[in-house]
């Protein structure tokens, strides 16, 4: 871990710092070394990190020689509260980048992690978050091979921010992208929509009622692999995170110049999430997910893909939710439960609860 920042003053080492992150932990000096040796390195243990140099040095993956390509992605994570039912910011930071790589068909290999920590943050809590990152990395089969730590003054950050970057490798024959959806494709969704957004809102204590909803945060690369193993020509994959399924599908419709027709009655939404949305005036299509994917595949191959998704632990509740048509291009249209239609648009901004 390279934590040197010459602009920060070297902190004295007060005895009372134990158990808390202090400015000195970001100074690049002894305390930084201590943090790396006792906290980060043991948690993320892997040969690339072990070397302790300024950069991790890795061998080229075999697929590259055979015509594969690199996929590169980065993602910054801020969330309050830092820990919530179903996950925490650590798990979010790993899954966010792993999933971005997986959505272009890449096999994620390596991640880097940058921590911006607020002075006074409990070391035990940091340890918990780091352990959660490692657990998620192991689930995804990736290694965290480089990182950095900075410490801000108290009040200048909201506990901890974690930014991750990732590198993966796209197999030679894989062509998947947001601009590749075609009329005739079917839209598959790997499970229930809106769990993450409602879980975080509930954990913030912003709902006037209790819910038992847990976030769905999960690394999706295993599910993606399962999908590709069917041999289907997967045109588009997207994980509907911020902005929900509506934003993801609107982007695809615009990128591909196609219409996406959704069937409201087919959308998988847990009753508790549907109930929370009813009360708050939210559309489940606008609420964030962190462990779901949308797959657009040719109609003939959709049944096999759907069956494969349902056989995977992260896709039990997978559903066929819509189809791709030519008209009207760039639009997402919802066929409502009562047989009407309406356009589905990008959410305008922060979701605000309604008055009555």
């Amino acid at each position: 871990m390279n934590g040197t920042d010459p602009t920060l003053p070297d902190c004295p080492l007060p005895h009372s710092h134990r158990g808390r992150i202090i400015l000195g932990h970001g100074s690049g000096g002894l305390l930084t070394g201590e943090l790396i040796e006792h906290l980060f390195r043991p948690a993320f243990a892997n040969p690339l990190l072990e070397r302790g140099d300024d950069a991790a040095v890795a061998d080229l993956p075999g697929e590259l020689a055979a015509g594969g390509r690199l996929a590169i992605s980065t993602d910054a994570h801020i969330v309050q509260p830092l820990e919530f039912p179903g996950g925490d910011i650590g798990r979010l930071a790993v899954c966010g980048t792993v999933n971005d790589l997986a959505m272009v068909g890449a096999r994620p290999l390596w991640l880097t992690a940058t921590f911006v920590i607020e002075e006074g943050f409990a070391t035990a809590r940091l340890e918990r978050l780091v352990a959660s990152m490692q657990a998620a990395a192991e689930e995804a089969g990736v290694a965290i091979v480089a990182g950095d730590t900075k410490v801000t003054g108290r009040g200048l950050a909201d506990g901890v921010y974690i930014s991750t970057a990732g590198i993966g490798v796209v197999p030679p024959d894989c062509e998947t992208g947001g601009a590749l959806a075609e009329p005739g494709d079917l839209v598959l969704c790997s499970g229930t929509l809106g769990d993450h957004g409602i879980a975080v809102l509930a954990a913030r204590g912003e709902l006037a009622f209790e819910t038992a909803i847990a976030s769905d945060i999960a690394p999706l690369n295993g599910l993606v692999e399962t999908i590709y193993e069917t041999g289907a020509a997967v045109h588009t994959l997207r994980d509907p995170t911020r902005g929900g399924a509506a934003a993801a599908l609107c982007e695809i419709a615009r990128q591909s110049g196609v219409a996406i027709i959704l069937e409201e009655a087919a959308l998988p939404v847990r009753p508790a999430v549907a109930g929370a949305c009813e009360m708050l005036g939210f559309d489940p299509l606008h609420v964030a997910n962190e462990g779901k994917l949308l797959a657009l595949v040719p109609e003939a191959e959709a049944p096999a893909v759907l069956a494969a998704m349902r056989a995977h632990s992260l896709g039990h509740e997978a559903a066929l939710i819509g189809r791709v048509e030519a008209e009207p291009p760039g639009r997402v249209v919802l066929e409502t439960t009562i047989g009407g239609t309406r356009i589905v648009d990008m959410p305008a901004g922060e979701l605000l609860p309604r008055i009555c």
Binding site: L207, I338, G339, R342, V344, P353, R354, I355
Partner: protein, 366 residues
């Protein structure tokens, strides 16, 4: 979900729509008063499943949309004070005042909180004794009981640091105003079910008689709305003009007596300005004299409010049912939910927001 899915049943809705189609012989113009109903109509696509000849106008029943600009500017000025926490329902945060919105002042350091209930604002006041907590008490008869309760609660707790910025409106006065204006086209009203849950429907009977106006108490789910429309059409075709309850599972003629008493204890009728429409006599609720110490307007003397509306926005005419959102030159171009010129584009109940969000744009929506 029980009590919801039954009212979104395609076959049942279709049956009522067929009944409407079989009944309609002429052209009729109906107005749904409530913004929640506007959204439900457009969201479900029901508005497009009605037979031709049946025209639905969207009424002024969105409390966010009709809150006067001057009142929003006042809230912005109060929120900018360092010793104040302004609490409000979420929708209010993005409603544009003359120079910005509450979300904007929050980004510059003001303490603006979203609450789900006015009683949460009372709790805020209790937990922050060194700050002034101002609750932006807006709404129709639906929110009035809880808003009244917050004042009574603050009084009971002896809170000196809680006040309310009141912008309450009442529905019957709005119906009277719409019907009294020359050139009005509305031939029947769908009354707002939740307002009638509190108030009952007897206060609509004089209106039905005076203006020969069918008024149907209507719920919010697609089937409720279809039934309300069907009842109005039956009356129009038969030449009847009565108050009818098509939301029997929630509304009784007397309404909720305890809730009405709460309103009467704290509030009294007053003239009020409706944004985009103007002043309507006795169409608002203000604090009774014995509660003026909880009035944020009295507590925070705000001077030099110079409120000026957008020159382009036609929200007023939309709120009166004279125009539809797509008649506005700025709709969907200069005015979108991200850059609203008027409140009807902001509120989750505003007609413009409903049209925009659910694709009621030129040629869109298939």
């Amino acid at each position: 979900m029980k009590y919801l899915e039954e009212y979104r049943d395609a076959a049942l809705v279709r049956r009522v729509l067929d009944e409407i189609a079989a009944t309609v012989t002429g052209e009729w113009t109906l107005m749904e008063i409530c913004g929640g109903q506007t959204h439900s109509l457009v969201r479900s696509g029901l508005d497009r499943m009605l037979p031709p000849g049946l025209n639905l106008l969207h009424g002024p029943g969105c409390p966010v949309c009709i809150t006067p600009l001057e009142m929003i500017d006042r809230a912005l000025a109060i929120a900018a004070r360092e010793d104040v926490i302004v609490a409000s329902y979420g929708d209010m945060l993005r409603v544009p005042g003359t120079s910005g919105d509450l979300m904007g002042v929050r980004s510059t350091g003001a303490d603006v909180r979203v609450v789900y209930s006015p009683l949460d604002a009372v709790t805020l006041a209790r937990e922050n004794p060194d700050r002034e907590v101002v609750f932006f008490a807006i709404g129709f008869e639906t929110t009035a009981p809880a808003n009244a309760m917050s004042v009574l609660q603050a009084e009971r707790l002896g809170l000196e640091n809680f006040s309310v910025l009141v912008s309450q409106a009442t529905v019957p006065a709005a119906i009277r105003a719409i019907m009294s204006r020359p050139g009005g086209r509305v031939e029947a009203f769908l009354a707002a079910g939740h307002v009638c849950t509190v108030m009952g429907w007897s206060e609509y009977e004089p209106l039905a008689e005076e203006f020969s106006l069918p008024i149907v108490v209507t719920g919010f789910e697609p089937l409720d709305l279809a039934r309300g429309i069907a009842a109005a059409v039956h009356q129009l075709e038969a030449g009847r003009a009565e108050v009818e309850n098509a939301y029997g599972r929630a509304v009784s003629r007397e309404g909720n007596r305890e809730a009405r008493e709460l309103i009467d204890r704290v509030f009294e009728p007053c003239d009020r300005t409706w944004r985009g429409i103007g002043t309507i006599a006795m169409s608002g609720l203000g604090l009774r004299p014995e509660f003026t110490r909880f009035d944020a307007i009295e507590r925070f003397a705000v001077s030099e409010i110079d409120s000026a509306e957008s020159q382009i926005c036609i929200a007023g005419e939309i709120l009166q049912g004279r125009k539809k959102p797509i008649d506005c030159p700025a709709f969907g171009t200069d005015c979108t939910p991200a850059t609203p010129l008027g409140a009807t584009m902001v509120s989750s109940e505003g007609a413009c927001a409903a049209y925009y969000r659910y694709g009621r744009r030129e040629g869109a929506g298939s």
